[in-house]
């Protein structure tokens, strides 16, 4: 039996009402310096440059994913019965820790270091940190088991499905949370209904009852709209792109900036260096770079700090060429003052494309079908044209 806290701890959360904690190991992880560090990494890269209230962090999101998984393993009868006590604790810990390897401005950082955040997440769990010690003190082997869920090497695929699939607690929390903090209404879907209609099927693992299909359709649409309205907003992409350019300039000039030395280390970064690289350190570093001798670093740093972002327009060969020429004539180094960014998003990726990760539905007659076969809406969406968006970003010339 896993040790309980003396009484149930509750943390007020506007999305879920309360986060409930009654496991000692969960409480200890939350109070660890590694988990508290997530208060210094925002959830939404550049989106808060558009939606000014979207200042929430991976700390609250991680608690939210944990809470949804906690509800799944206690309130959904099929899951409660399919998992052992140890598996339940493990998957709750995996939910809590699934994002702990995120660095500041994750996408920009990953693209210069070439290392995915999952790698750091698993290192933080297994590489003898405070987290590792908390998990191992609770139950020997727990650290590896938790990391296994996150890196999809867990023996019981159901556990991974709960936190990483097309209908997982991670997405469920971020849609609701990002909708709440941006103030859009796009990410709201019916979590209660989905939880009530989740089932476990021997073959497929997590499935949904037919009576939950409408709620899943709504969830798929919510996700689709959040991508286009929030995550892919061009202002957010402009902000993230400039951070990427600054990181790249730092790396290529091998600039002396101790707060950002992890960028040079890349995949070899030690965890202590990684720990200290958060968005507060970065912001502070950008502020220091505003005094840099390197004009490009100085300019990019000021753009980030003071929100003097790049403009954007739809990309096509002719426009791209025209803008590039103008920039070059105005003396801009195109390596750091121009980028092209393409985003695309399918509402749902069907089984035919990605075998391991579909949403399955149990029909009234007991048969199991993929959601795109059970929902005309999803069928239509995956057979219709895909949305994509190609844009170029560049400074206002003369601006």
């Amino acid at each position: 039996m896993f040790e309980r806290t003396p009484e149930v701890k509750v943390l007020r959360d506007p999305v879920h009402g309360y986060i409930h904690v009654d496991l000692r190991v969960v409480w200890d992880v939350i109070n660890s310096s590694w988990f508290q560090r997530l208060r210094r990494i925002r959830q939404l890269g550049g989106a808060y440059m558009v939606y000014h209230c979207a200042e929430h962090t991976r700390f609250s999101h991680s608690l939210g994913v944990y809470e949804i998984v906690r509800r799944m393993v206690t309130e959904v009868e099929d899951i409660r019965e399919a998992l052992s006590e140890r598996e339940k604790v493990t998957v709750m810990l995996a939910a809590l820790l699934h994002d702990c390897g995120h660095g500041p401005y994750s996408h920009a950082l990953e693209s210069v270091t070439g290392v995915s955040h999952e790698v750091f997440t698993c290192r933080i769990i297994e590489e003898d940190t405070e987290i590792t010690r908390i998990l191992e003190r609770c139950a020997p082997g727990l650290a590896k088991e938790t990391a296994d869920v996150i890196r999809h090497t867990c023996k019981n695929p159901l556990m991974t499905q709960l936190i990483s699939s097309q209908l997982d607690a991670d997405r469920m929390d971020y849609l609701l949370r990002d909708a709440y903090f941006t103030g859009t209404k796009y990410g709201v879907f019916d979590l209660e209904r989905i939880l009530r209609t989740l089932r476990v099927n021997g073959d497929k693992g997590l499935i949904i009852k037919k009576s939950g299909v409408f709620a899943v359709e709504y969830y798929i649409m919510a996700r689709y709209h959040m991508y286009w309205q929030v995550y892919y907003h061009p202002v957010a992409r402009s902000y993230e792109g400039i951070i990427h350019l600054l990181f790249r300039r730092l790396k290529e000039t091998n600039a002396e900036q101790p707060l950002l030395k992890g960028i040079m280390d890349g995949g070899n970064m030690d965890l202590d260096t990684f720990f200290r690289m958060d968005e507060y350190t970065c912001s502070c570093a950008f502020d220091m770079l505003a005094d840099s001798d390197d004009g490009i670093l100085r300019d990019l740093a000021l753009r980030i700090r003071d929100r003097k972002l790049f403009k954007y327009t739809d990309s096509d060969p002719e426009t791209d060429q025209r803008i590039r020429t103008q920039l070059a004539q105005a003396g801009y180094d195109l390596k750091y003052y121009w980028f092209r960014d393409t985003v695309a998003q399918n509402p749902y990726t069907p089984y035919t494309v990605r075998k391991d990760n579909a949403i399955w539905v149990r029909m009234e007659d007991g048969s199991v079908r993929e959601i795109s076969e059970a929902s005309n809406i999803v069928y239509s969406l995956i057979h219709g044209p895909a949305n994509d968006d190609h844009k170029i970003f560049f400074p206002e010339i003369g601006g």
Copy 2:
């Protein structure tokens, strides 16, 4: 100039915050007995048999449609400039009155009388009722002009579009309102965004700016889901179907039931008889029919009053035949104890199908496209398979 109320009157409304009234004629219409009558006609036929809080009436919906139109003609610059003062007052009155010809259990009633509620709406406005007198006292000719908006014979098609098109104040209010009172999250969409992106185009009338397309996609999905989750819920259809059967039985047996004599009169019903037929009178009549000598009337009345509804199952020739045989053997008169009901719903009906009533979008380059050409989502939905549902309804045999 139209007479104003001494100060702005506000009515608290959970959907819109407040309903604002500052026109004397609007205030007088609201206080008329014909408008107060709408407090006795529920908004959602049988859906409150499933969603127990959906007890709201056409009174609050009518106020809500008025409020949205009021905002359209005052807050949307293009509309404000496109309409004269008189046209604005007229379309607000049309919004307020567009449902005043609804009788009790409207669909059931219309199917036995063969008269659409729009006919009664226009009669109430034009046929020398209290409403007619209020309108004519305000401005001679106003009654006919208001009715013209409702029956689509208005010279300025923009006015009709505001209250009757695929993107009109009527739908906007009922989606938000029905979602609020059912407690579902399906009908919620971003009204503010839509209002902010409405424009008027010489040719098409009401159009939407490109930046409002996401909000319209969401609205289309909201409507689609409300149909399937609420309006077409089989329990609601079962309730409405039984009321239809009772009305039919009444008519065919020429039963003596003074409260429902309007049913016999059908299209010839005088307005005084119509006025008195509301859901309170009907409920009272059903209660009296629970003592009828006619066993079928008695049984159907009790089923309605005490919510002993028909069961339902998917229709197919074999099932239908089997059930019908069982019912006949159990002694049920199939004319009153069996019905088949088909519902279908397209998320959006494109221009190619219905020329006068499409949603148009002004693209960033100024061109105008139909929503299905401007939105991959809508394109996919209208080219994918349509949802329909065929069910049969019948009493539990032995139940």
Copy 3:
């Protein structure tokens, strides 16, 4: 063991999310004609004449009280342990049925019949109705035990406290529900917090932990404001007062109106007559009375139906006399065309005034104090001046 339903039934409710039912007896009560009758009695007498969306009924309120009690007996550890299985079922049934003896326009009706609705509630539960049979079939003796909770004769006072005290499920539901449907923000308080801090104390029964005092303060203020803003709104009192006058006129003239014959019977009314008297029957009767030979009945009936209510002003001897004189001169019968109404409301009634019904708090040191000793806010409110409102109501003279 009490029989369960094959699966948990859920009813969508905008206030609580879902109402959960897993007891067969609860499900059967909900589906009985007596409980379905509550769909025909509105929750808020005349308040929907002011707040037009407050059209909700005692049906949804009764489900809401049941749901809160269900949560109390399953989620609050102290209560779960203090009650036997049978006591839990009993108190849930008492919650569901506590309002089933309400007639139409309850206050007006009670004042002419002289019989409280609790009397009818207990008769409906115990007097061999469909309800009685459902309860007794479930467990012999259950009907009387359920009624005992409602009439405060239950051996375990904790059970009564859950549904009838100054901090009970009845008030908790109606504040939240009435706030939701009126659209005011006044009735919203933190139900989750109160549920989380409820405890059972040997001596006092239900108490609240110190950490819940703020939530209780808010609840007390919410109730206070709902009284003044909604329940005591003069327009609502005007409407209810006229209904009372009409009932009185009916009784005093011994008028022939079969739908309202229960009013003549008063306390001797049989349950079948009572069953049929609901707000639909009344509304229908008012409509018929609009053709009455009695001018007073006719006028009052039209005032109710068409919302031509009495005016009101603050009462003082001089004003009262002046208005009465004017009315008499204008030919009004003062017995039916003038009334005085006083309302008063204390935010909280302390133990010193009403010994059996206080709110108790467990302090951090384990001692128990009354809320007015544990909260400066409540202390101040009960020692400050009380709010009251004296108004007279009368027809507009010449109007």
Copy 4:
């Protein structure tokens, strides 16, 4: 005439729906580096250590206060008529900028520098910064006029009342906003009702109509509860207290920490140094101090970073002495490892105590009374006992 933006700019805000900007000068201020800096100062000192989602910043609050003032000067007829165009623009700018002089962890900072944030606010507006230049370019003299509103030296006291009184836009926004982001329900009040009932009275300036008294009572209670539940939460005070101790240690040891050199400068700080001191710089400095040679600095910095806060208990002479002795015996320097903190909050401060800043009510008869004379609730609250809370904070001994 003041220059307008080409079209109305809207910023999505979950509290107000949208922030509307149509003045060029407002848009320029928002886009200035000084205003963008507010994204790096959180709104709620230590409260996000308790309410983990309360991570919002003074940036969004400042926009919110601006939006409420914008609505006041455009939607409230009396205010619209009482102010000239220039006064309206000035008060909107004062609303936007009223918090721009806040440094990181404002209370802790002010207590070591001895300078109030208002001083910095006025310096930033008037001392030739980017802000000054934007204001003066718009209209010569505007900078001083804006600062005058903030420092209460404005000729028209109504302008100051809008942003700084007991019923001002500042409080209205922070209550709603802090309630939203903490997820408590305590701060919600009826902003629409208050705006609708605001009036201007020659003598008193801003007053409220009698029909708005309930909304003001609710607002006063909301504020009171937010203080006790959120702002005065002991965990928040523990966090802020430790930051204060660290700042004091830094100052007293004259430690070398360039990021925090402003602390040494205190009131002499130049604005460039001030600009760079934000919560990101501080966080970064704390992280660096985690390697300090000074054990006290190192320990306090780690406590802040990793949320290893001081415990707390109610203060009384005996307890205080006992704890101090234990701490001294355990080797703690009491100067940095013990503090006592008292908070007190009256729901409302009456006119008798603070003449310049009361809430006045226009009664139905046209007379004007103070809110405590017009509301029994407010009267009771100010005559009842005051809430206060005395606590001592100290490290867990052996912890």
